[in-house]
Amino acid sequence: MTAETVVPISDLRNSQLRFRAMESGHRACLGCGQALAARLVTEAAGPDVMLANATGCLEIFTTPWPESSWRVPWMHSLFENTGALASGMEAALKAQGKSTKVIAMGGDGGTFDIGFQALSGMLERGHNVLYVCYDNEAYMNTGIQRSSSTPHAAMTTTSPPGKESMGKRHLKKDIISIIAAHHIPYAATASVAYPSDLRKKVRRALAIEGPTFLQIHAPCPLGWGHEGDQSIAVARLAVQSGLFPLIELERGRLAGAMPLRDVRPVAEYLKAQQRFRHLFQDAPRAREELEHLQALADHNIEIYGLRGDHPDKLDSEGADTVRRGGARWA
């Protein structure tokens, strides 16, 4: 049985009950977490926005010249100056007395590493910009090189496991704490596995006057080594294991965290991805790194108080509940 309606598909596309800032036809890979995240962010933000987009996958796959997937004003910047560009856009709009919101977007490379200085400046100057970091934990666009966001022990082309190493030697940079230390009004983490939570955080951030920051965990099937249809499942396990805590920080203080109802072992998350397969060989150092990653997750659970003491309808099991007719909580 295949789907048919009497309404032509193109008409249907133009009568969808949600704002489409990012149109189909973009060149993202199958099951791309970032494409989904960008779609969710922009549809939650609504039409009155302008985007500043750092170099990276998102920029490449949405704007293969002379085409563009964007239906809102969109400007491309270099890797290193997205924060500066967004600052300028915001200042210009302010000078014109316009209330259009500016959203800056970048990958983890453009945010954690190369564009960090401009971002820090933007936050420090207090521009009214939402900065969204799509965190897929490596330079995926250029061929899966490690970034400072790549998790400990993950395999990338520049942190290959072998005789001398077990994947990336260093730890994932704690960017959210660094951002929060700028004392900005709102900084949060979100995951594509929890779209309602993600949209809530976008709206919450946009409602605030001043710099806000959102870090979205977005699986990269190619870079992480899993099938495209597993993107949500993998992202969900990252949250449920405690490795990627979903938290909100206001003025640097923890304001909320999604509690974990059933904490899943980190190994379950790691097993789903090829970039961690070397951790499952029968060797003492593999076992050690596995334990190390579990300890990192346990540490997150401890410092953010993630373990819920009773089932909550917005915890890691309840927050993605669906209902007949599509009613979601955000």
């Binding site: 049985m1 295949t2 789907a3 048919e4 309606t5 309404v7 598909i9 249907l12 596309r13 969808q16 009950l17 489409r20 990012m22 149109e23 189909s24 036809g25 973009h26 060149r27 993202a28 199958l30 099951g31 791309c32 977490g33 494409a35 989904l36 779609r39 969710l40 949405t62 704007t63 293969p64 010249w65 002379p66 085409e67 563009s68 997937s69 964007w70 239906r71 809102v72 594509v192 779209p195 099938e227 495209g228 249809d229 597993q230 993107s231 949500i232 499942a233 969900r236 089932p311 309808k313 099991e317 309840g318 993605d320 509940t321 669906v322 209902r323 007949r324 007719g325 599509g326 979601r328």
Partner: protein, 563 residues
């Protein structure tokens, strides 16, 4: 529009729509309806998933109409059915099964209270005529479905009132007579010509019926108790279980004794044991070579009585001796003073199922009544030619008897029937469809072969745990007379139950595919799409990643190869 390309050229908004990423696809998603386990397991053929969906939408009357398109007696089945739907319910592997039986009861009761009309047109006067013999569950169902299909139906029963075994052998504490009267009365008024006190073989013959009507459905039930003895020995004051049960249901009295042993593991045995308790018999034993039903007990080894009824019997003080049989009646003169019990089990022996007694396990039980409740068979009176000395009719699931055109049979009288009320309702419906096909000289509709969706095909991440709504149950010390033991659920409880439904294998418009498609290749429709969902795939852009299929909570989306 001519586009002037300059250095630093720009792109027009949304122009990537010109690029059809659908050409990348090697597999594609499709909507796939699978049968919910509750549907597949229902002996009556009800699709509980479908009417629970209506309840969830708050459309109680529509839910009832969907239900009675299959089973016209929901207030009755909602009380007496052994609900295999709930045993099969996928939710049972998540937390607790949906209280399907109690939702059905609520809808049945609500229909009676609100006077909802059966969605059936009165047949035209010129329509063909069909005769239905026996106004039990099978006959009532057959008559109703024949009217639905447009036939004039005459329904005969030997008793003064319709209801059959529901009226003669079901204790009122399981099925209050007010409910039975109301539902059966409403059912008969859809245009069925009911002729009580007409017995086949006494007031009319099968040949007369065949001559007068275009088709005949027989739903006589099994009215005759099976022969019982222990190695040819029976006591003089033998009372048979089903007769005692009928006597109590009709008259409210049973022979007095102080202790009794009932032989058998079916509903008659359990009902009778509870009635004897109510009548003041101090010690009531049930002896069965089957085991108590429970987790891990294979179906063929478990007692055939409804587990809920067994539990209530145990609560009321009935003693059940599982895996036991009677080796010898202990008689003083011709009167029973006890039985010798022995461990027994049905086992495979040389490829045949045999009940084996284990030597050295004999015990003695002193009772002053031994009552067999070992099953019934068809009373051949008036149907001797058709039965050929068998205990039940040889007929296919459509009720067709080989070589007998125009005569159909269903319910307990059909060999291979499930022996349950809901099974009889299903038999009646299928026979009505077969009669319709026979009269139109066509083939009866094919059995629905839609595969059943398994628990593993759902994505339960998207469902929230919620406790099953509990009905009020009469405490043991107040179970004296005919007061109904189990209460029903309230409207709000029923709605909460309906919200718990997984909607296995059927789209419930949860928006998950629409929300999670990275390519906006899932589009939402205001109207229902032709496959019953609210979504269509835009294959111009669908890259075939499979996220929608993987994340579909109810297993409605699957992927197929596409080259």
């Amino acid at each position: 529009m001519a586009l002037i390309l300059t250095r630093g050229g720009f792109s027009l908004p949304g122009t990537s729509i010109n690029f059809k990423t659908g050409t990348w696809r090697v597999q594609k998603p499709f909507h796939r309806h699978l049968s919910a386990p509750c549907h597949s397991a229902c002996p009556a053929g009800e699709n509980a998933q479908a009417w629970i969906a209506k309840v969830d939408e708050g459309l109680f009357q529509q839910a009832w109409e969907t239900l009675v398109a299959v089973n016209p007696l929901p207030a009755v089945t909602g009380r007496v059915c052994h609900h295999p739907c709930e045993t099969a319910c996928n939710r049972g592997q998540f937390d607790e099964a949906i209280s399907i039986n109690k939702i059905e009861r609520f809808l049945g009761d609500e229909a009676i209270e609100q006077g909802w009309a059966y969605p059936v047109d009165k047949p035209r006067k010129s329509a063909l005529r069909a005769a239905v013999v026996g106004a039990g569950p099978a006959g009532l169902s057959a008559a109703y479905h024949l009217v639905r299909l447009g036939y004039n139906v005459t329904l005969f029963d030997q008793l003064p009132e319709a209801g059959g075994v529901l009226r003669t052998a079901l204790p009122a504490y399981r099925l209050p007579r007010l409910v039975l009267d109301a539902e059966v009365g409403r059912l008969l008024s859809v245009g069925i010509d009911f002729r009580p006190q007409h017995r086949l073989g006494r007031d009319m013959s099968l040949d007369e019926l065949k001559a007068e009507y275009s088709a005949v459905f027989l739903g006589p039930g099994d009215q005759k108790s099976r022969e019982w003895s222990i190695d040819g020995v029976v006591q003089r004051d033998l009372h048979v279980g089903i007769d005692l049960l009928k006597e109590w249901v009709a008259m409210g009295s049973v022979p007095q004794c102080t202790s009794a042993a009932i032989v058998g593991g079916g509903n008659t045995a359990i009902d009778l044991s509870r009635i004897l308790k109510r009548a003041g018999v101090q010690e009531v034993h049930v002896i069965t070579h089957q085991s108590l039903p429970g987790p891990g007990i294979p179906k063929e080894d478990a007692m055939t009585a409804i587990p809920r009824e067994i539990d209530q019997a145990l609560e009321e003080g009935v003693v059940i001796h599982p895996h036991r049989g009677i080796r010898r009646l202990i008689l003083r003169g011709e009167k029973v003073v006890g039985v010798e019990l022995v461990h027994m089990k049905k086992m495979d022996k040389g490829g045949k199922k045999q009940t084996i007694a284990f030597e050295g396990t004999e015990t003695v039980l002193h009772v002053d009544q031994v009552i067999p409740a070992v099953g019934q068979e068809v009373d051949p009176f008036g149907m001797e030619d058709l039965l050929h000395h068998k205990h039940a009719f040889d007929a296919d699931p459509w009720g067709r008897i080989n070589g007998r055109d125009g005569v159909f049979v269903g319910g307990d009288a059909r060999s291979g029937s499930s022996g349950t009320m809901s099974g009889a309702v299903g038999d009646g419906r299928r026979a009505a469809e077969a009669i319709d096909a026979y009269l139109r000289e066509g083939l009866p509709p094919e059995e629905d072969t839609t595969p059943t969706i398994a628990f593993g095909q759902l994505n339960v991440n998207y469902y929230e745990h919620a406790p099953r709504q509990q009905e009020a149950v009469l405490p043991v010390d107040r179970r004296k007379g005919t007061e109904e033991i189990e209460g029903g659920l309230s409207a709000s409880q029923v709605s909460l139950e309906a919200q718990r439904c997984f909607s296995c294998g059927t789209c419930f418009a949860c928006d998950n595919c629409w929300t999670l498609c990275p390519d906006q290749a899932v589009l939402k429709t205001k109207e229902l799409a032709s496959d019953g969902s609210h979504y269509v795939f835009d294959f111009d852009y669908c890259k075939g990643c499979g996220l929608c299929a993987e994340e579909c909570p109810c297993g409605f989306i699957a992927m197929e190869e596409e080259i």
